[in-house]
Amino acid sequence: MTDLPKTPGSKKLGLVIDLDICVGCHACAVNCKEWNDGGHMAPLTDLDPYGKDVSGVWFNRVHSFEAGDHECGRTVHFPRSCLHCEAPDCVTVCPTGASYKREEDGIVLVNAETCIGCKLCSWACPYGAREFDEIDGVMKKCTLCIDRIYNETMDEVDRVPACVSTCPVSARHFGDLGDPESKVSKLVAARGGMDLMPELGYRPVNKYLPPRSAREQKAPPLRPSEEVAAKGFLAWLDRMLSR
């Protein structure tokens, strides 16, 4: 049902992405592709995979931006995936109910068996989180690795989305953003986690941690040593240095 849950649970599973340390390595994007290619939404079809117009279904894509001008700016790598919004129009526009938001944890999913492939949800998503599979004729998207996070055949520690477990710099965090006491919520509070395009009112669950302002090393200017100034390299002549 594309009506949003009338009684949304308090649980809001999502990701927190730290733009301060993301080095843009694409590990999350490819690991996501690898897991999900054989996962719940399998496959993540690639068209013309060895040719001119290669394109494929990816649930996570890493962009690079420059913010600020010239030398003073920053290069920021920016992974972009479904934000599992609290007010997701991609769900409400769906004419068949294939697109839905789970009551129990807020994850936005597509039922591949009832999706008619009208693509309207991809138009309704401001963030570009929806990916159409031309061969299957259905829309696919990030499942927050729903086949991992509750997977009883996995060790507890592995029950996180693939993008989180693989991230080499630990720039990705997974947890319950509905619980103010959760690690991710505290991280968001401490680091000023932000919504993307808040003006559109989708209320994303995923948060982005902004780049921190550069750490300044407070150091007094070096003063020429008077001794060195006076004696030059012979300044070190009189030191008694034991081994």
Binding site: D3, K52, F65, V91, P95, T96, I116, E131
Partner: protein
């Protein structure tokens, strides 16, 4: 937005079909049109044929047309679902009205009234599919619904005029309506384009990335070096020059030529009037197809902000 031909045809054809249906029903209701068999057959075939062909064409856009009936289930939240439901519901009075007209030579006033209502509501639903999409400023505005409604009526009137001329039922009302609806349409489109050109989405690369606090945000690299689905579907770009030329074509072919020809039909022989109104329909069709093509092609989606667009 990618101007998909199936959708362009669907929205224009069903609009014209509904416009024609409204005029038939209105004419019958106010007693201007007597239920004549030949006219009825041609007019309803055209009207409902266009609506049906449009709907079929829209199915062609689907990845799974065979599952399309599920699309009727989510009318509580989805304008697309509502449109489907309304399109089907509208067929009930429309077919009743048409059937009685053609087979019985009578006018069912309730059916005609309901057909008008259904056609109008369906057209509004179609427009609302677009007008409800927050990521597309070119669609989510107060212009979209009136334009869909006026253009449906206008294109329906062009068809009506051709039919009336063909059946020798020429009168001043339809040319007048063509002129009024056409001028209204042209004014709306001109106003819409001014709206389009005169502003930008409140979403920017800075809000899309949240990096505005650092400064201007410019894309360095896209995530993929070749175009992906998102760009093919929502990153369509039309050159400024090209768009300007097409807008002129819309105004000339879509409005000026058909309106002028329509008015002229009143002053020429019936045969010439039929020919004029046929040319008006063809010209109008080309113009409105271009209008609809532009409606998609000029619409920018906020996802392009992630791919180097400086505004949406």
């Amino acid at each position: 937005m990618h101007p998909a031909l199936s959708i362009i045809f669907f929205t224009t054809a069903s609009g014209a079909g509904y416009g024609l249906l409204v005029l038939l029903a209105w004419g019958a209701l106010v007693g201007h049109l007597a239920p004549q068999f030949g006219l009825g057959l041609c007019a309803f075939a055209t009207s409902l044929g266009l609506v049906g062909a449009g709907l079929l064409s829209s199915l062609g856009h689907l990845g799974h047309p065979e599952r399309a009936w599920w699309a009727l289930t989510q009318w509580r939240s989805s304008w697309l679902s509502r449109e489907g439901v309304m399109a089907i519901l509208t067929f009930l009075p429309a077919l009743t009205f048409a059937g009685l007209w053609i087979l019985d030579g009578t006018v069912s006033r309730p059916a005609a009234a309901l057909a008008i209502l259904g056609a109008a509501v369906t057209t509004i639903c179609t427009a609302m599919i677009y007008a409800s999409l927050k990521p597309v400023r070119a669609w989510r505005n107060l212009w979209t619904v009136p334009i869909y409604l006026v253009l449906a009526l206008y294109t329906g009137a062009l068809l009506m005029e051709l039919l009336l001329n063909a059946f020798g039922l020429r009168g001043p009302f339809i040319p007048f309506l063509v002129a009024v609806a056409g001028i209204a349409g042209a004014i709306l489109k001109t106003g819409y384009w001014a709206f389009l050109d005169g502003g930008r989405s409140s979403s920017t690369p800075e809000t899309a990335t949240g990096l505005g606090a650092i400064g201007n945000v410019k894309m360095l690299d896209p995530p993929n070096t070749e175009e992906n689905y998102l760009l093919k579907e929502m990153g369509y770009r039309v050159a400024r020059k090209h768009a300007t030329r097409l807008r002129a074509i819309v105004l000339v072919l879509g409005f000026i030529v058909p309106i002028a020809l329509s008015v002229l039909t009143l002053y020429v022989s019936p045969a010439a009037a039929t020919l004029f109104s046929l040319v008006a329909v063809i010209s109008g069709a080309l113009g409105i197809l271009a209008e609809r093509w532009l409606f998609f092609a000029e619409a920018k989606h906020t996802v392009t902000l992630y791919y180097g667009a400086s505004k949406a």
